[in-house]
């Protein structure tokens, strides 16, 4: 398992020291990563951190200010047309023609990719089947709900049977059921050897990816499988463990816990607190300390770090590094 850049195998995307500047602003700063064929690559980061910019560079929409990028073995700077033949792209706002019907949208994108009529017909049948679009074929795209729009957009993006699909926030603003169904579909397609490059805000979606990377204001600060990231020394320093403290008084508990020596960090998660504590700090001691201060404790148990924990820790670390560099 694992998809570290050192791993051999077929590479779908290879980004080497990507740089993109807009005037004085560096939106993407020396970003490198590799995506293996058949992976679901989750690309995460806060808004405005450069996710969409990276996608636009890889799909040939934006020229590179520096670095190199290879998609399906082709240099995006010199072979952009060949790259476009091989990839599918679904943008954040499901780029459909609202005044055309579902069928007309599919036919249009098929013709754009110059599919000959027989193949176009076969592909439309397949896509309609796969996405369950039959009942809506003659409906205008404008009249579809968010989930169906997204399925149609995905269908349009994969008519020409691309081996690599870029999905920019495919699940933003659609209902949870549609979100789940989309992911089921992605897994199914991934099983057929299609590679996905997916950006998302949802941590649960990130957990489902076979490979994730986290970009923070232009800098890539994490890259690996979800499990390999959890084991990073920055996330789980030697001699510490992560615990979940369940308590009815989370805010008071948090205020108190943050001042205890031996607790490295603490954050609220719903009705509980996730804390990184030093090993010398016994769980029973912790419970006793809390009780002594009048804080009821339901449960304290060890916890594997979530991807959100991972990104939070790595972001802190990165910020500390930036401040140190500035000082």
């Amino acid at each position: 398992m694992g998809a570290t850049p050192q791993m051999n195998g077929e590479v779908a995307i290879s980004a080497e020291h990507l740089v993109r500047r807009f005037g004085n602003f560096t939106a993407v700063n020396d970003v490198s990563f590799r995506v293996q064929k058949g992976e679901i690559f989750g690309f995460l980061g806060p808004n405005g951190s450069g996710k969409t910019t990276v996608i636009k560079m890889l799909t040939g929409l934006l020229p590179l200010s520096g670095g190199r990028a290879y998609v399906e073995g082709l240099d995006v700077r010199t072979d952009s047309e060949a790259v476009r033949e091989r990839i599918g792209y679904m943008s954040q706002n499901f780029s459909l023609y609202y005044d055309l019907t579902v069928t007309e949208n599919l036919q249009f994108y098929g013709r754009i990719y110059s599919l000959e009529p027989a193949r176009l017909k076969r592909r439309i049948d397949e896509i309609v089947q796969l996405n369950g679009l039959e009942p809506y074929l003659n409906r205008l795209a404008a009249q579809l709900s968010g989930g169906w729009k997204q399925r149609l957009a995905l269908g349009c993006a994969m008519l020409h049977e691309p081996k690599l699909l870029f999905l920019d926030e495919p699940t933003a603003g659609i209902d949870p059921v549609a979100r789940r169904q989309l992911w089921d579909l992605l897994f199914e397609l991934s099983g057929h050897g299609i590679t996905f490059f997916v950006t998302t805000h949802y941590m649960d979606e990130a957990e489902r990816c076979s490979h994730v990377a986290y970009i923070y204001y232009g800098k890539l600060i994490a890259d690996g499988t979800p499990n390999s990231l959890r084991e990073l020394p920055d996330v789980q320093p030697p001699g510490t463990q992560r615990v979940e403290i369940t308590t009815p008084e989370v805010t008071r508990a948090l205020r108190f816990a943050r001042h205890l020596p031996g607790i490295r960090s603490a954050t609220i998660f719903g009705q509980s607190i996730h804390a990184l504590i030093e090993d010398r700090f016994n769980l029973d001691d912790l419970r006793e300390q809390l009780l002594k201060n009048g804080i009821a404790v339901t449960e304290i148990r060890p916890l594997a770090p979530s991807l959100e924990d991972v990104f939070v820790e790595l972001t802190y670390k990165h910020q500390a590094m930036l401040e140190a560099a500035r000082a």
Partner: protein, 373 residues
């Protein structure tokens, strides 16, 4: 070469679907120009007639009444009021009730009878220069005529006899003058808006970006978008000409096919302007403002309303860079003067040159700005 225009067919067909799906837009883009024609064709008369006039006739004898009758019969003046003192005469003009005030002094008839020079005061509101000019011309002409008649007494013939003859528009009908020019403005209007909108709409929707991730080539996209609107532009031209001929009774003296041939480059000019507008505008409202900015020079400096020759030099020079200047000369030439290619080839050449250059610039900007936006 085929590859250079890749995606053309798909885009063209899709644009046709858009137009068919939205008949309202098509209807309005074809019918609103016709409404504009009705307003300008029936509503505006550049011939100045029946100017509101106030009269203070202090003399009020036969000679003075004859003079007033002559003024009335000229069709230029319409006497709305008679007043009895100078103050009322002035006030009527200041209040805007009349544009012209005529005062015949108390000794008018006496002076004439004694073969002395009789003076008539004509006050003219100069705030509208064309009305004022007409009032001056007609009153002086009548004064001169009246004097000559008195000098020549027994109607001997004039020494010099000017015989003006109006060619091409003998009745000085306003629609004949306005509508051929209006054709240029309306075509520009419709095609620029439609092209700009069709591209800006895709920008807003994000579908344009999507297209650039497909193997469609910029030229395929550009021409796929242009051609449907070129067809609409030609339909519009046919509609306007039909209306002009049969509703407004403007005779078409020249060859309609020559007009069509010379309209082609003009339509390409308008479509290219539409693309240029869309490469700058990011929303439909921005597109409207920008498009209007391009219409204004075409309306004012093309000779559509004001003759180009009387403009200050700088604007006259500018008018040479405005495609509508050439096209208006072509429409008026063919429709009113029966001109042919041998008369208009230079204007046609200018339009073909402008059309090619604009299309090239538009294509380049389209590639650089719209794609990389």
């Amino acid at each position: 070469m085929r590859n250079f225009f890749r995606g053309f067919g798909a885009i063209f067909y899709k644009e046709v679907l858009h137009v068919r799906r939205d008949p309202a837009t098509l209807f309005f883009s074809l019918v609103i120009p016709l409404l504009q024609m009705v307003v300008l064709g029936f509503g505006i008369d550049t011939n100045i007639r029946q100017i509101n006039t106030v009269v203070y006739n202090a003399d009020d004898r036969r000679e003075s009444r004859e003079l007033l009758d002559r003024l009335k019969n000229s069709d230029t003046f319409h006497i709305v009021r008679y007043v009895q003192n100078d103050g009322d005469l002035n006030d009527a003009i200041i209040a805007g009730k009349a544009r012209v005030g005529i005062k015949i002094p108390v000794d008018y008839s006496d002076h004439l009878l004694h073969n002395m020079s009789a003076q008539v005061l004509v006050l003219i509101d100069g705030s509208d220069s064309s009305v004022a000019g007409q009032a001056i011309n007609v009153t002086t002409a009548i004064g001169l005529d009246e004097s000559l008649r008195r000098v020549l007494q027994d109607r001997a013939s004039f020494a010099v006899d000017m015989r003006p003859k109006l060619l091409f528009n003998p009745d000085s009908r306003s629609p004949n003058f306005f509508l051929p020019g209006l054709t240029a403005i309306l075509l520009l209007n419709v095609t620029t808006f439609l092209t700009a909108f069709s591209i800006v709409r895709e920008k807003e929707r994000g579908t344009l970006e999507q297209l650039f991730v497909t193997p469609v080539r910029p030229m395929g996209l550009l021409f796929g978008k242009l051609l449907p609107y070129l067809v609409i532009g030609f339909s519009e031209l046919t509609l306007i000409l039909t209306f002009m001929r049969f509703v407004f009774q403007v005779p078409i003296h020249g060859n309609v096919l020559v007009l069509a041939f010379l309209s082609l480059p003009y339509l390409f000019v308008s479509l290219s302007i539409g693309i240029l507008v869309s490469s700058k505008a990011n929303s439909q409202s921005e597109a409207i403002q920008l498009a209007f900015l391009t219409f204004l020079p075409s309306i004012f400096f093309s000779g559509y309303i004001f003759p180009r020759e009387t403009m200050p030099l700088i604007f006259y020079v500018i008018s040479y860079f405005i495609p509508a200047s050439y096209y208006i000369n072509i429409t008026r030439g063919i429709i009113l003067r029966g001109a042919g290619l041998s008369h208009l080839w230079l204007d046609g050449l200018a339009l073909y040159a402008m059309g090619s250059v604009l299309l090239l610039i538009a294509a380049r900007r389209f590639q650089n700005k719209v794609i990389m936006a």
